[in-house]
Symmetry: C5
Subunit: 276 residues, 5 copies
């Protein structure tokens, strides 16, 4: 971790990463709740919100839209990813070279790492190449650290999440993105394990306004540096209101309650269990 | 997608790609209905028709014939492909380097991508290299996006085709070539999923004049940018008449009916189910 | 296929390639019928016969002998090959780089391609690299096109041989070497399938003078451009006489009968079924 | 082994390597006995102790902390390593290029080698590249030589450990790190087998002060050049005291008894059997 | 084979290669009969004997000792090799780059080739790279040609050994090292099969003075160019005497009897069947 290598994608050390790689990872079904989000332009517009410190997208989406937003959006190049049409051992194709991402204007790279997969060794070596190329270009490095594979029964186990953030530190990420491990204590352990590597919580599938903000508040109090969020923004009817709320909790340190008070018409229904 | 990266192989944003890679993919049996089409020269002649915006062929065929046609035909280098003598998990050999294709005069590359295959990750990484090399050379990129593999029961399912076009967008193609998903609604979804990536319908196996043109009309109205066609041209007795008809439907926006009226002696018999 | 890329190894568009890679592919047992042919020098001497347009050997044999014959023999570098000690899925090691072959004075490369093998994709990509390196060096390209593998019941089926020659054309060979498909009609189909790619018949295991020359005559009349021959030359007591005969049939267009008349003491016994 | 290639990480030919790659190899559970050791800074502070000749850490930990310690700590870049989330055949990902390690200030590299694993051939070739790159940069080379795999019933067998040190010599390490083979005689054989390659004992899991120092004394008398230690330092309440003791045994050649006498409040309870 | 490429490791066309890669291939157990041979320096001293034309060792042993012997010993860099801790399909790791071997002063390379192994294709391609790099550096090339694998019942069968030497010729070795095939006739066939590639007999496991020298005499009379020997030298009480004897048989062309007469106290007990 180079000094301030992540500064381009954080503000005051905090990050709100808007992630929009669902078209590759899950397919267009993820856009059905709010069909206009099929158009990447809609999400690029959201990414101009003050709260968003970076937008994570794949190469093709960046090629098609980033040129129109380069003054207003910070690009986080999500380097690897694979469709869910394929159902083999967890793996992820590297779809984008770091040099090309840099040429397109990216300030940081994102990389999925499936610790525990039979492909872990290969993924680690691909991460090495990407991480070192990013260092060479002064780009930040974010690891989507998602332990997965036959040896893992519960991918939100506190020990597993603490290991996941540690892998971010050990392998050279500036920021590790992990699932919320279910409790503030577990999140605190995960943040301590990461050392100087920052930790951001993965937004996961859509939750009610209250549930979601309370989880984010809990993560922030436990030492997290922010959030990487997709469906909990773009599957909402009023995504800007949620970005306003997240800005309060993440950057101003308010409670979820205070944030909700400032969000007229906040939703409260829960959501299904799938995850980013 | 770079601005106008595909302009060399489109006209007014529309494309009619004549594809002639059947000798590699299916073998010479595909030429039996019209034996003279065994000679690539016959198909290069067809490609000089005004309606054709690009001819997609493999390296050896291009080496042998393109030098005589470079003023009259736009070359789309079909980079990968494999014989059907081999019956393993869907895969495709990269038979042509982008640099060599560029040296031969190609304006764009074509690449088959089998999402859902056990070889998806490897194919994605081969596509990455080809796509970035094409960008470096200012060449257009067309993805033959054909989900395939054990997890896929129906490769024309609307959700699958919408995912297929989205993969074109996400991975950085200018144009995604997909099978017709059976209805105008499904095609519309597929075109929306592709965002700024254009969609062309795959011609498939030979159909009657009417059936074929009506499907093309339906695809165009649903938002497609054109057609990539092989057997429905070169297996016809009068391929020029069909090219005339396609020119009307694709570039002039007529109905299939109007196009048929202008095609004396149009056929109407149906054809078998296999596909390009 | 570059214009005249094969001209160094053809004469008037016809080729008689003397092949001597049996020491690698079959081992020294192939030299037992005429033990002095164990010495490559004996075969290099034969290759100085006017009828021979190129000699195909492996790297080590070329290193050891070609320096003494470079004024009198045209070298075709057989790039890949593997011993028959190994009995796995059809494959062939690339034993020679194109650059090194060029440095040794080779005018063309030879490459075995097992369409239908589980290794087809890998072999195609190795062929791509070799073919493009050969183009860069202005060397001719000959494909030993031998469909093989579990999906293939009969490797001399007319459809298979026509596909084999087509693969030569599609992938960028100047000349495809295939087994004789059993009839003049099948050979004609194979030659038409190859388009501008020339077709040479594989000599196969030793046959009687008459049988062999009649097959060559038949192939030539069907459109073949010549012959690649090994055992039917070097396993004969009088190989020069057979080269004289082949010169008549291949380059002068005589019948086998005319050629035999000019060969005193021609043999007529048949031979076993194994093949080059 | 270049002359004095290891001199940067030895003193008078002796080495005390503090190893801290447990966060990657075992996960944060290894820090639970002394939670503050979760913070790499605590271990970097320990590494400033006079007795420590090098600190072995992974890339990310080095990036985060080494810049603050480069005047006081000698960096040994532990190039490969893998989480224990994965439970396949012994293997280790190369997470760090030698050039990048050199740029960060590393004086030597560390490399795990699992002789006997199905991945032995691949690991040997990765070691070759790393070792030769290190020679090019005048960096020392330490092999974590840990025979492992289905053919090995006892990874502390005297013959196995003697083979392990010999592999260090044969493949070009300056120092081989091996488990203690259980007796002074076995350790002596291992040291003789290594020839000019130095041998350091692996510290293993936590033992009592007495047991640990006596084993180190035994190893030193058998010809070892020192120790590579992790948990037996950082899992202690008073790690500095143990470093004082090790300094006596390793660099001053005292007995364990003499060293213990100088360590007030030395522990004596035994520990479990797992190993570094 | 370049003219005289092997001259640095032969004298009058004859070779006596002292091989000392047993520490890698077999482990330190091979040094137990004469424990001081654990120290490579002892074997380097033997290699200064006039009879020895080259010493074959691995990279680490060469790094550690060759700088002190470069005026008195010719270095043959044994590039590949693997421990017998691993028991999978025959394979061998390439532990040494040719460039680095050249920088250390090696005049030739040695390469193990397991024809018949499932890894034959990969080994052949590794050999290709090494062989061509050696040619570029004007270094000699010795192939340890050891057919092995499930298809081979008897690795000393005359046909197998003749194939083994032929592979040396075909793939570009200057010298092929093979096991003695059991009879003078079989050895003669093997030498003829090799053409201009020289053949050296592998010393194998320790035999009595008489048996060993008689086998060497037989091989020389059959056309061999010498011997590559390890255990039959360094496992003897008086290795210099045996080197004196071998010098007579190999370079002076004496009988084994004459050589024995000049060796006071020659042994005559037989030895076990294992092999180099």
């Amino acid at each position: 971790m180079l000094d301030d290598a992540d500064s381009a994608i954080t503000r005051d050390g905090k990050a709100l990463i808007l992630a929009y790689d669902h078209g590759l990872e899950h397919g267009p079904v993820d856009f059905e709740p709010v069909p206009e989000t099929t158009d990447p332009g809609v999400v690029f517009d959201l990414a101009t919100h003050d709260a968003v410190t970076a937008l994570a997208v794949g190469k093709g989406v960046a090629e098609a839209h980033y040129p129109s937003y380069e003054d207003d959006v910070t690009l986080l190049a999500k380097l690897n990813g694979t469709s869910n049409l394929w159902m083999g051992e967890p793996d992820s194709a590297v779809n984008w070279s770091v040099d090309y991402a840099h040429d397109l204007g990216a300030d940081a790279i994102g990389f999925t790492y499936y610790g525990g997969s039979n492909n872990e060794v290969e993924m680690a070596e691909e991460f090495r190449d990407a991480q070192e190329a990013a260092r060479h270009r002064d780009m930040g490095v974010v690891m989507w650290s998602y332990p997965r594979g036959q040896g893992l029964k519960n991918d939100r186990d506190p020990k597993t999440i603490a290991y996941a953030t540690r892998l971010g530190l050990e392998l050279g990420a500036d920021i590790a993105k992990v699932k919320y491990p279910g409790s503030a204590d577990a999140m605190e352990w995960a943040c301590q394990s990461a050392g100087k590597c920052k930790v951001v919580m993965s937004g996961g599938s859509k939750a009610s306004d209250r549930d979601f903000l309370e989880t984010v508040e809990s993560a922030m109090r436990a030492g997290a540096s922010g959030l990487a969020v997709g469906r909990n923004i773009f599957q909402r009817e009023n995504p800007e209101a949620m970005l306003d709320g997240l800005e309060k909790v993440i950057f101003e340190g308010t409670t979820a309650e205070e944030a909700l008070d400032a969000m007229p018409g906040a939703e409260s229904e829960p959501a299904a269990a799938s995850d980013d």
